[in-house]
């Protein structure tokens, strides 16, 4: 390099450039603290690259000093939670309703665990309050006493596990025929039978011939095979609703009932055994059972 000129006022070297004849620039060195931080960050960066996954040789990522990985982290967190809750979940899986009623701590655990499962998975259809959100929408209210597939704790466990018309090999299912689409009944006959069905709950349908409707209900369409002579359902046939209790899954207006008879109804609930553990299913069943309707 060329000759270094020292600026006589500051005592600092100049860069050696000169503009406009005599305008010169001081070459002030970087502050020591800055230079130190600069070198420390480089050392830090190199060390960091050995602590977290970074180096690749050929087709392999080299293992890190502490064997850290983000997926390893989440498995550790999940395993720790599982271990902590394992004794309670083990107890819950075997618990009967009587056990839950006598063991307050277990009951509280089941309720809280069930609430978490319910919140993540069930609210979309059954609503945050388990009340089906809008009556007659096709999504059952779980807080009333009306159960299509049983309201006992073990019934609810099974329904959650296999679902309804879910495609699961043990799915719960039944068939409400589409009497209009299948041409089993004509529009007048459907109106008459709808009028008869409404009469179970003390309602009426203008223009419907109840006597003819009753005959269709009992004979031509044999609705009583599933819904019972009195419309209260047949206990051996799960999935067939009670028509006399004023609780209507798909709506209780004459129009909705006529739609149900014409096209049939095939509500679907997904099976949860692939998504939830048996203990989680039990917990959510306990939660649902305790919302008011459980038998």
């Amino acid at each position: 390099m060329e000759h270094k000129e020292i600026d006589h006022i500051t005592g600092t070297e100049t860069t050696g450039h000169a503009w406009d004849g005599d305008l010169k620039e001081l070459n002030t060195p970087l502050p020591g603290w800055w230079v130190w931080i600069f070198w420390i960050t480089i050392v830090w960066g190199i060390a960091y690259s050995f602590v977290y996954p970074h180096w690749v040789i050929g087709t392999k990522v080299l293992p890190t000093v502490f064997d850290w990985s983000s997926r390893g982290d989440v498995h550790k967190a999940l395993d720790a939670a599982k271990t902590t809750m394992a004794p309670q979940f083990a107890k819950l899986e075997k618990a009967s309703l009587a056990d839950l009623r006598s063991d307050a701590a277990l009951s509280k655990f089941a309720d809280k665990a069930g609430e978490a499962v319910y919140g993540d998975n069930c609210v979309a259809c059954h609503g945050t309050g388990a009340n089906g959100v809008f009556s007659g929408s096709g999504y059952p209210n779980l807080t009333d006493n009306d159960w299509l597939y049983g309201g006992k704790l073990e019934d609810i466990v099974e329904t959650v596990r296999v679902g309804i018309r879910s495609g699961h090999e043990d799915e719960r299912t039944n068939t409400m025929a589409a009497y209009g689409d299948d041409k089993t009944l004509n529009a007048d006959q459907i109106k008459n039978v709808a009028g008869y069905v409404l009469s179970f709950s003390g309602n009426s349908l203008a223009g419907a011939d109840i006597a003819k409707g009753k005959q269709i209900y009992l004979e031509e369409a044999a609705c009583n095979a599933c819904h019972g002579d009195d419309g209260k359902g047949v206990s051996e046939i799960p999935g067939a609703p009670n028509l006399a209790d004023k609780i209507w899954l798909f709506g209780g207006s004459a129009e909705k009932i006529i739609t149900s008879i014409t096209h049939g109804r095939k509500g679907v609930m997904p099976a949860w055994d692939a998504r939830l553990t048996p203990a989680q299913i039990k917990a959510v069943a306990v939660y649902v059972h305790s919302r008011g309707g459980g038998k």
């Binding site: 990522v61 993540d120 945050t128």
Partner: protein, 247 residues
């Protein structure tokens, strides 16, 4: 003069040097991804989208669903407990472009498949607040009324096959028929042909049914629900080795 005089006096040389230096970081990070064996996990069941699912995905992208919904379950305990197994790279490998998203006004959808019934999706698309009163999602009632031009889907499949999605010639040629078959009768010959074509990936049987509650036409709602109902359901986690895929 200083050794960097050449850079200071030639802007083109300076620009080229800047590009070279900046690209080092990119090359060091990106090139190994093409060679390391662990970028994409080896799993059972992963397959490309069927034409109907692809049409649903096109609707998803067109309507900007990704602006409010992510498709990326991050590896954290709270996310795994809420949504299911964290997302794997392999689950996005046939996505062009992927739909990971960056914002959750609505929930993550990476594993929404089989979580709700088709009826729920129909109701929810037509009027979200009819079943989720607190929802802020807009209604998409028109999807059920808009039919899909099935016959152009062979072009979509061909374009994707150029990017590396392993569609066979049979899949591309029959894309239009397959699209219609998947939204129809599961026992039809066309549906069986569709199942046979996509069985080659070793995945579970496809969902074949009328998704939108209207068997007469193949609507965009059929496609979107078909797409929703398979999201996150392909990988067989019973045979997935989490230990071997830690990273």
């Amino acid at each position: 003069m200083a050794s960097h005089e050449i850079f200071e006096k030639n802007s083109i040389v300076l620009a080229i040097a800047i590009v070279l230096v900046v690209s080092i970081a990119g090359l060091v990070e990106i090139i190994p991804l093409y060679f390391i064996g662990s970028t994409i996990e080896k799993v059972d069941g992963m397959r490309p989208y069927t034409p109907l699912e692809l049409a649903g995905r096109d609707v998803y992208v067109r309507e900007g669903c990704y602006l409010c919904h992510s498709q990326m379950i991050r590896p954290f305990r709270d996310e795994v407990e809420r949504y299911g197994h964290y997302s794997l790279a392999t689950e996005s490998m046939y996505d062009h472009p992927f739909q990971w998203g960056s914002k959750r006004t609505g929930p993550d959808l990476a594993r929404v498949g089989n979580k709700y019934s088709d009826k729920w999706h129909q109701d929810h698309m037509n009027d979200p607040r009819s079943i989720v009163p607190e929802s802020v999602m807009p209604g998409y009632e028109f999807l059920g009324k808009t039919t899909i031009d099935a016959d152009r889907y062979n072009k979509h499949l061909r374009a994707l096959s150029i990017t590396g999605v392993p569609y066979s010639k049979g899949m591309i040629d029959n894309a239009g028929a397959d699209l219609k078959a998947q939204a129809g009768d599961p026992d039809s010959d066309a549906a069986e042909a569709l199942q046979a074509r996509y069985k080659s990936f070793g995945s579970k049987p496809l969902n074949v049914r009328d998704f939108d509650g209207d068997p007469k036409t193949v609507s965009e709602l059929d496609a979107l629900i078909a797409y929703m109902q398979m999201l996150g359901t392909l990988v067989d986690f019973k045979t997935y080795n989490a230990k071997a895929n830690l990273r």
